[in-house]
Amino acid sequence: MKIPFKIGDLLIYVFILLLTAGSFAGLYRMGAGSVADRVTVEVDGKLIATYDLPKGDKQEEVRIDAGNGRYNLLRLTSSGAFVKEANCPDQICVKWGKITKPGQTIVCLPHKVVISMIGNREEEPPLDDIAS
């Protein structure tokens, strides 16, 4: 079967590569210099909650209520967050898997839920004042 390939096609593929590289670069810049330790949950564009990632082996589960009986079960681990289960029709959020770096997001479009990983940019915790 003859597969036609013309010069313009190359342009398209280069464009795709640029977009992909740009996305990785963008994600890297968003997360550079910070450690992933918190997750924000937005429903319908409004910030509902921010959760700290648990430390060690602990796992936490949060039920995101998207209204009208719709939900997403958010699982938080020390390495990242993922949607364990949801009752949305396309299940993209569940299939997506875990997000681990600041800047990454999980989106559930039918439920209008956006889960974003954010990190702190502070290198060290501020020193406590020592009362003299």
């Binding site: 597969i3 036609p4 390939f5 013309k6 010069i7 313009g8 096609d9 342009l11 398209i12 593929y13 464009f15 795709i16 977009l19 992909t20 740009g22 996305s23 990785f24 963008g26 994600l27 968003m30 937005e42 564009g45 029709p89 396309d90 993209i92 959020c93 299939k95 997506w96 997000i99 800047g103 990454q104 997001t105 989106v107 479009l109 039918p110 209008k112 956006v114 974003s116």
Partner: protein, 162 residues
């Protein structure tokens, strides 16, 4: 025309039952009709099909929230494919045009989601895998379209529509 529109709708609807391998990566079967219409009829007809399909399709499939994304992606994709097809056909193969269409369809959709939720992180997170799926599905859709166009071109117009 109505035949093409209904075919596009049916494909869109049926496709919603196919589980996707990668998150958000659909086969985009209805785009076969867009490309065929573009080739056989022209931009206006193709755009009409895309708009109607984008509005009615998500309603039929049971998720009306999808209308906005379908429209954004579909319209952008149609414009890009039309420009490539009518002005630059010398340089692009039909498969390539299909891939470009798939790419911009996905860009349109994910850009809409990012703008709607004010998070550029959405764009960055989902773009790479969508680009990969655009290449795969674009080539597949292009191949199917190519064969359909070739087949239809060999028969008289009235045989097809009548």
């Amino acid at each position: 025309m109505a035949l093409l529109i209904s075919q596009a709708l049916v494909l869109h609807y049926l496709e919603s039952f196919i589980p996707s391998l990668a998150p958000g990566a659909k086969l985009g079967l209805a785009n076969i009709l867009s490309l065929v219409a573009l080739s056989l009829f022209g931009f206006r007809e193709a755009m009409t099909i895309v708009v109607i399909r984008s509005i009615l399709g998500p309603i039929l499939a049971g998720s009306p929230t999808g209308i906005l994304y379908s429209l954004a992606g579909g319209v952008l994709s149609c414009i890009v494919m039309a420009v490539l097809y009518h002005h630059f056909r010398r340089y692009f193969s039909l498969l390539g045009i299909s891939v470009a269409g798939a790419v911009f369809h996905n860009i349109g959709q994910i850009l809409t989601a990012s703008l709607l939720y004010g998070s550029i992180g959405i764009l960055f997170t989902y773009l790479p895998i969508l680009m990969l799926s655009s290449v795969v599905t674009g080539n597949f859709i292009g191949l199917v379209s190519k064969h359909i166009i070739g087949f239809l071109n060999h028969r008289t117009f009235y045989e097809q529509i009548g």
